[in-house]
């Protein structure tokens, strides 16, 4: 999958062709996104959230893990602080994802960059940085992939809120959560540059597992990512001396 236009060394682009490539890269993960969306619609109805409100939440928040977490905090009076802290903690990993896209935003107008970031999520980000290694320079890749996911996520929430039948346990038996892990794993293969990545990735994996065991839920991506990045940086510094 080579970019249609000649990749420019010092600038990024945002084109329809890029959107299309990004959208196609999402095909494998749309089924699990759909099923989780349906599950969210059902779960939301289950605790008394109206269908239109659950759908609005999917459309505006567009972050599955945070949306599921908030269902536990859907109480009167509204537990504002836990609710906002949970939302931030679960989504804080986006900050790292966005930071790593710096080169792919270079030279683009701010409205395009900040518009594209509205659709940033783990899956289309992973697809984009794997494609970047193959020469992709089009931020549309993120937008197209994000739009596909957004459409799937919102329509699935609507369907789940209207219909019923599935629960989260069923989702697990259908091994759909494994599709997402397998998807991330394949992008990891494309991202590997060689032995230079061994140490940072090892540290990232260990730190992420440590965070799973020792910290509250949902910090492992942040902790692992930062630890791996710093490990690479420190190693390079020590080599230079």
């Amino acid at each position: 999958m080579l970019p249609a236009s000649e990749p420019r060394p010092h600038g990024a682009t945002l084109t329809w062709a890029g959107c299309w490539r990004g959208a196609r890269a999402m095909l494998a993960v749309l089924p699990p996104v759909f099923v989780f969306g349906v599950a969210f619609g059902i779960a939301a109805r289950g605790i008394g959230i109206e269908g239109w409100l659950a759908s609005l939440m999917s459309a505006l928040v567009f972050a599955g893990a945070a949306q599921f977490a908030v269902l536990d905090l859907w109480k009167i009076p509204v537990p504002w602080l836990p609710l906002l802290v949970a939302t931030f903690a679960i989504n804080a990993r986006h900050i790292l994802l966005g930071a790593s896209l710096r080169a792919l935003c270079r030279g683009l107008p701010a409205w395009k960059v900040y518009g594209a970031m509205a659709l940033l999520s783990d899956l289309n980000w992973a697809a984009l940085i794997a494609a970047e290694r193959r020469g992709e320079r089009d931020l549309g890749y993120l937008v197209g992939g994000g739009l596909m996911m957004w459409l799937t996520w919102v329509s699935a929430t609507v369907i789940g809120a209207v219909a019923g039948g599935l629960t989260l346990d069923d989702v697990k038996t259908y091994a759909l959560d494994l599709v997402l892990v397998a998807f991330f794993a394949t992008t990891l293969v494309g991202l590997r540059r060689g032995r230079i990545d061994d140490l940072p990735w090892l540290v990232a994996g260990l730190a992420a597992m440590g965070a799973v065991w020792l910290l509250p839920p949902n910090w492992h991506v942040m902790v692992g990512g930062l630890a791996g990045g710093l490990a690479g940086l420190v190693r390079d510094e020590m080599k230079r001396r």
């Binding site: 409100l53 928040v61 949306q67 509205a118 997402l180 991330f184 991202l191 799973v212």
Partner: protein, 102 residues
């Protein structure tokens, strides 16, 4: 929860979430461009992905290891993500079926 509170919660969540999405590229704009910063961001991308994959694989148990292992091997051999993911899931399903039968 009444409609006003519900809508406020949804809008607040949307705002916080968008802040995390836009925050990365915003904050990194304050860091002067250097080879060191570039290298860090490149390590960061791979490390974030590892931090996503490793705990999820471990949590998946034996099926997680089979799915991820086969998907990685499949990508290396086939050079295509989609069939590699399919093979990984198939292998995990077969593994589960064979374990369930015994």
């Amino acid at each position: 929860m009444n409609i006003t509170d519900s809508l406020l919660v949804v809008f607040a969540m949307a705002l916080v979430t968008y802040a995390t999405r836009a925050g990365g590229i915003f904050l990194v704009g304050f860091v002067p461009m250097s080879t060191r910063a570039e290298a860090f961001l490149r390590y960061l991308a791979g490390s974030v992905l590892v931090a996503l994959v490793v705990p999820a694989t471990v949590r998946g148990g034996p099926e997680g290891y089979v799915a991820v292992g086969v998907a990685i091997l499949g990508t290396l051999v086939l050079r295509k993500a989609l069939p590699a993911i399919a093979l990984g899931i198939l292998a995990a399903a077969l593994w589960r079926a064979s374990m369930g039968a015994s």
